[in-house]
Amino acid sequence: MFGIPLPILLGQLMLGLINGAFYATMSLGLALIFGVLNIINFAHGALYMMGGFFAWILLQYFGLGYWYALILVPIIVGIIGLVIERLLLRHLYNLDHVYGLLLTFALSLVIEGVFRQNFGVSGQPYDIPTALRGGFDLGFMFLPTYRAWVLAASVGICLFTWVVVEWTRLGSYLRAATENPALARAFGIRVPSLITMTYVGGVMLAAFAGVLAAPIYQVSSIMGSNIIPVVFAVVVIGGLGSIFGAVATGFLVGLLEGLTKLIYPPATNTAVFILMVVILLLRPQGLFGKRNY
């Protein structure tokens, strides 16, 4: 393909897939939140960044390592999400999504600002946990163990979320609650707590991705704002409200970026948007979206 040797191609695709793992986890959370709260959670990037930072803080100030962080950080950030939802977002549900977008945008400005003031922009180092150091040779490339773990962990968490949402009643409750919360409540569905739990769940996914990212990327206050446009694009390409779509497209976009890096690297950041325009022109509801959105 394009005269690129197969091993390199495979290697790039592998790396793309791993990057896709982050997109998938992030966009899964975003898709959940959008689907239920009808809010484009601009703060998602900031929460992801918080995930990375709290992992670092736990290590630096409390001596708690990676594995603790993986459990504790999503909980901590989840609590922050709970506060955000209860105090602020709650009042915006029946408004146009522009308002939610604006509020979460404002929140991300504040959160990123606070972290930047305290920890600077160039970020903090975070080491790969000892158990996951090293790597193995796949023949066509050297694969660090940690990257393999990232892939496995995010596939696992995505599957888990997907099963919980789609194969239990939760899925239809969530969609009903999105569409007509008042009526859903009139059927006895506990919509307010459902909404809170979804937001918290989405936020925890972001934080989880943040912890996963910490050893690979620099833990810095701007790590979130770099990834967020792509994640938005992923959710839209996948089809709003489609959880499976978000995950699948996450990996797909990772692969696409991997390929672009081989063929025409400068377009890597733009490739996803070109894909989006093409897809939306062919399929206005996104790859896995339903028409009525």
Partner: protein, 340 residues
Amino acid sequence: MSWQKTAWLVGAVAIAAALPFFVYPVFLMQAMALAIFACGFNLLLGYAGILSFGHAALFGSAAYVCGYAAKAWHLPTELAILCGTAASGILGLVYGILASRQRGIYLAMITFALSQMIYFICVQAPFTGGEDGLQGIPRGTFLGIVNLSQSLNLYYFDLGVFVLALLLFWRIIESPFGQVLRAMKGNELRTVSLGYDVDVLKLVCFAMSGAFSGLGGSLQAFALGFASLDNVQWHVNGDVILMTLLGGLGTFFGPVVGAVLVLSIQNYLASLGGIVTIVEGVVFATIVMTFRRGLVGELQPRLGRLLRAWTRRGAVEQASVDIVPGAKQPTDVAGSRSVA
């Protein structure tokens, strides 16, 4: 009450004419440019109900086109501005063609994608100067007579353009076309069933919005003397939404107020040392939570009431004028009847 209107108008123009002696003119010019930009955006979101998340490209690329026209082709200022405006109008049309099949978030995202693609072009194209920007745009002369390199002259030139643009905008939204846009916002299917070509309306709307944004971008290019990637960056997509919403969505003056507000925050809080964005975030959040309809949207009815009360009092004091015309409110009238 037309003398009142005239008085308002004269007052406003007087203030605008005197303003550059108190506030820095380049700042004012940039504010006007952004205000026009926000108006163009408001036409789509506030009046036609279409959320574009890619207006940065319309604004920024006009700045490049206009700047390039003035610098490389040595076009006179007016023509360069026209070039920028037309370029963005056409780009807006392209947006419309590609996006008009979409709705809601999808539409927002496809425009976003388009703007990212244009950003990419701006980074790559040789004439934009990459991240150095297109520097040293000559301000030129107006009609070959007035030297615009004087900031004050350029300010009055911009003011003229600004007022004209606002008048045009007012005409558009207060025209039969504007009415149809409102209808389309309310219920698209019904609008079609009444015999309106919604697709055409949307296209025209996109093109107009693009042209306004382009006019804003062109003015800014001359005001600052350069065009840079900052204007095409995706944050600007958010900034323009902010301006419009902070001022008041779907209100005439809202975007103007919002543009001034956002620009003031960015410029006047710059000496706070790194907490600009935090303050910005807090201000925005507060406004979303409390002034949901935007500053103008919230204040206008109150001011209106105040004004009406004031005129009514005046009327009573004069003891000759009927109360009703000043304060006619259908609910009031009906309400008083139900009491009776």
